[in-house]
Symmetry: C2
Subunit: 240 residues, 2 copies
Amino acid sequence: MATAALAATAAAETGAAHAVPRGGAGPDIGILLYDGYSLLDPTGPAEVLSRLPDATVTMIAEKRGAVRTDTGDVAVVAQRSIAEVDRLDVLLVPGAGNRGTVGAMNNEALLRWIRKIHRHTEWTTSVCTGSIVLAAAGLLDGRQATTYWASAEYLQSTFDVTYLPQRYVRSGKIITAAGVSAGVDMALYLASLIADDDTAKAIQLAVEYDPQPPFDSGNAADADPQLKERALQLLAASQV
Amino acid sequence: MATAALAATAAAETGAAHAVPRGGAGPDIGILLYDGYSLLDPTGPAEVLSRLPDATVTMIAEKRGAVRTDTGDVAVVAQRSIAEVDRLDVLLVPGAGNRGTVGAMNNEALLRWIRKIHRHTEWTTSVCTGSIVLAAAGLLDGRQATTYWASAEYLQSTFDVTYLPQRYVRSGKIITAAGVSAGVDMALYLASLIADDDTAKAIQLAVEYDPQPPFDSGNAADADPQLKERALQLLAASQV
């Protein structure tokens, strides 16, 4: 993203922008990666939240190193292992394809870590089926939450959770987002809570988030059964 | 068609499930990473384009390995080096902060590779200041294009390019997108060109792209000078 050349140059010349180490004063934001997550789930919110003043965004996984997405084509690097992280101001759990979600739900080490971190977070958040992972960790009992449209029935029938078909749902300090791209909307809302509305608005402009999709087919409530089936087929075919 | 190393590994691990390599029939899509790119620029389109039937999405960089974003906090893995890639159906060049954009513009090896790949692509595309990199490679001469809002004047005054303040602009086989998040909109448009409208609509539903940002501040044409300044300050402060 371009900074205007002048703004960035000015900051670099004065040296002021990084005189204080980043992350010293701002929120410590951790995003949990696990095998099979969907790429946009962690990266959309990371883009937004990394623009919060003095924020540190850290990708975390069971082990340090590259963590593959659901398609197997792409990997993001986890800089820290869960053993190295005891506290976070903000935890974000992304969603995944079926294999990744089930894997995370059955990974007791991950669930234990999520519970431990959640105890002291300011905000515990999820994108897509990340809410199912939070539910498996026992964090959503008796709460309202959202999730990926195709997983709503599963979330509600498996856990003591009331599904709300919203872009994001806040329940106490837990914020769940709907599928994949909803993480960007949720992250802007979260930015407004962590900082203020003006900061969140400036971040929205910084990432030029003035959405104009060429089609209007992203809302499952309006989609016909054929389109839903085709969407799920494309997902299944693209996932390893 | 490229075979992503990671996919190949996955296939080897799971055995018969991937006896036929993915990407055998579909588009071979390469995304060029370079030091200082903005995270959402490559990952938003990768999320969308990876759902195209039989598509292979490969992250490519000057050298294989982790490539850091503009904030320095996060890295995506490049599975292939530019020396290993001679042909692509689709090339996508993401944008970056000031440092990263200038670095790419002055990297003759990268520009040479972009020119070489462009000769045989079906589509050559960019997000954000990626269009400035395409312009530096000489690909936008005499064309209409878009870029990050804060870089529009620079693009137009430095190169023989007519800036259009649109979410994405198609000029022949080149498609440029506006800043950061505009790559998602562009990728859906591109998906409709590569496949068809119905497939693109299904992908939009697959990634639940029904944008509902909590604010309406993402369009620079509507933003007041103070908000613009604040946006650029936040960017500069978050970038290394």
